[in-house]
């Protein structure tokens, strides 16, 4: 096989084939890492001095929050690439990332809520991080709403890219303003942002869960991108070949 150029995979047909090769490994990795991470987080890591066992939800909450932010940047990045270089597959990748990013954001918010309840008795706390996550969810939903409202795929890709970039530029500003707002209004209460002193095992568990979520995100996003490619390129020869292979 000739030397591998990344641009080879900008062709939907080759991307499709690549994903078929990678995905079994990614799923395997995701499952293995999740099991390892959860085991470490829920059974091996010690009980926390102040929060008891309820803190363990952070092994899902923190990795989910990290992923939600990384995925937004990835989405903006691929949308921009697709727009600048006229690369259809990159734009489809951006569209494929959005729902997964929204799911992780929601997961971070949900687990954040679970954390708050036993500790402070409320199902929601308007601290800086959670509020920023909520706004991030709105940004994701806005992107998804915009690209699905536009019938023309190319216009949708480009408009989505503009929105994602505008959002990406604004995220630091929004985060800064939310922190500002929070310091003004919050008294001297225990903030959720004050993480418990991390034992080695706790860090290890968080790392494993982060990698697990990454692998899962890759697998799911790739599968969704495959589906988008088939849907958009319906008239192309390679799609017909795929369909025939599946049927045989």
């Amino acid at each position: 096989m000739s030397s591998l150029r990344w641009s080879t995979f900008s062709a939907p047909s080759r991307f499709y084939a690549l994903v078929n090769v990678l995905n079994p490994w990614l799923w395997g990795l995701a499952i293995a890492l999740t099991l390892a991470g959860l085991y470490m987080g829920f059974f091996v890591a010690p009980v926390d001095a102040t929060q008891g066992n309820s803190y363990r939800i952070i092994f899902i909450h923190v990795p989910a929050a990290w992923l939600s932010m990384v995925l937004y940047l990835a989405m903006a990045f691929w949308a921009a690439i697709g727009w600048m270089l006229n690369a259809r597959m990159a734009s489809m990748l951006a569209r494929a990332i959005a729902p997964t990013g929204a799911v992780f954001t929601f997961l971070a918010l949900w687990t954040g809520s679970f954390w708050g309840k036993p500790t402070w008795g409320t199902w929601w706390v308007w601290d800086a991080r959670l509020t920023s996550e909520l706004i991030l969810l709105f940004l994701y939903l806005g992107y998804i709403a915009l690209v699905s409202s536009i019938d023309d795929a190319v216009r949708g890709d480009k408009a989505g890219a503009v929105l994602a970039l505008v959002g990406a530029v604004n995220v630091p500003i929004i985060y800064f303003s939310v922190v500002w707002w929070n310091t003004l209004h919050q008294g001297a209460t225990i903030s959720m942002t004050a993480a418990p002193k991390m034992a080695q095992t706790m860090l290890m568990a968080m790392l494993l869960m982060t990698l697990a979520f990454w692998a899962y995100a890759f697998a799911v996003v790739f599968t969704r991108a495959q589906a988008l490619a088939v849907e958009r390129e319906g008239h192309a020869d390679w799609v017909r070949m795929v369909a025939r292979k599946e049927l045989q």
Binding site: I135, F138, L139, L141, G142, A145, L146, S149, I150, V154, R155, K158, A159, V162, L163, L165, V166, G167, V169, N170, I173, I174, F176, S177, V178, W180, W181, L184
Partner: protein, 222 residues
């Protein structure tokens, strides 16, 4: 270049003057919306004073967003927008002119209506003055961001609601600094930090938003 700005701006103002009632609908909405809060929350002056700044800001935000959906829609449907983009003038200038016209016809009236509203909510004079000044800096930001949303959603079916969903998260910094300024004055501390941030936000938005709007317009018309 400034010829195009003046031409588009004066035309939009003239059009708004020909439809004065429609142009003032956002202000009417603003007043109605704010009036709902005492009804919903209870008329105790202490409560109203606490929530006043936030309520006024949020209602101003919503009023601004409601009227911005039409910023490009009519020009798009009668072909004027195409002519503007074909004129050879930088689309950034066109976008800036439209945002300026929107602020003049919607934002400025909101700023003028705010003191009256503030009195209804029992705000102190110092808080009122701060609110008006903050709105003066913040409403242009809303018009500029609204332009981006209007351009992105041009010609789409549910453009109005979609635009609000897209743009509201981006207006949160203005909301925080704007209402925070009033809160600061109410607590007796200086609001200069808030105003600096609002000013910086305005400058930043004025540089980025027309560019993003221009790009979105070209994409919508391709």
């Amino acid at each position: 270049m400034s010829a195009a700005f003046v031409a588009v701006y004066t035309r939009d103002i003239r059009l708004a003057l020909r439809r004065r009632v429609e142009a003032l609908l956002p202000v009417v909405f603003f007043v109605v919306a704010v009036s709902l809060f005492p009804v919903g929350v209870g008329p105790e002056p202490q409560t109203l004073r606490v929530i006043a700044a936030g309520v006024v800001w949020v209602c101003a935000l919503l009023a601004s967003m409601l009227s911005v959906a039409n910023l490009y829609a009519l020009d798009h449907s009668d072909g004027s927008l195409e002519q503007m983009l074909l004129s050879g003038h930088p689309p950034t200038v066109i976008a800036a002119a439209k945002a300026a016209a929107h602020w003049t016809t919607t934002g400025a009236p909101l700023v003028l209506a705010a003191p009256v509203i503030g009195l209804l909510l029992d705000m102190s004079p110092a808080a009122l003055a701060t609110l008006v000044a903050a709105l003066l800096l913040g409403t242009p930001v809303l018009s500029l961001l609204g332009g981006v949303g209007a351009a992105l959603t041009l010609g789409l079916r549910s453009a109005g609601v979609l635009l609000i969903l897209l743009i509201l998260p981006l207006t949160i910094p203005a909301l925080i600094f704007g209402s925070g300024a009033v809160g600061a004055v109410d607590s007796g501390i200086s609001a200069s930090g808030h105003f600096s941030l609002l000013g910086a936000l305005l400058i930043f938005t004025a540089l980025i938003a027309p560019l993003a709007t221009a790009v979105a317009l070209r994409i919508a018309l391709e």
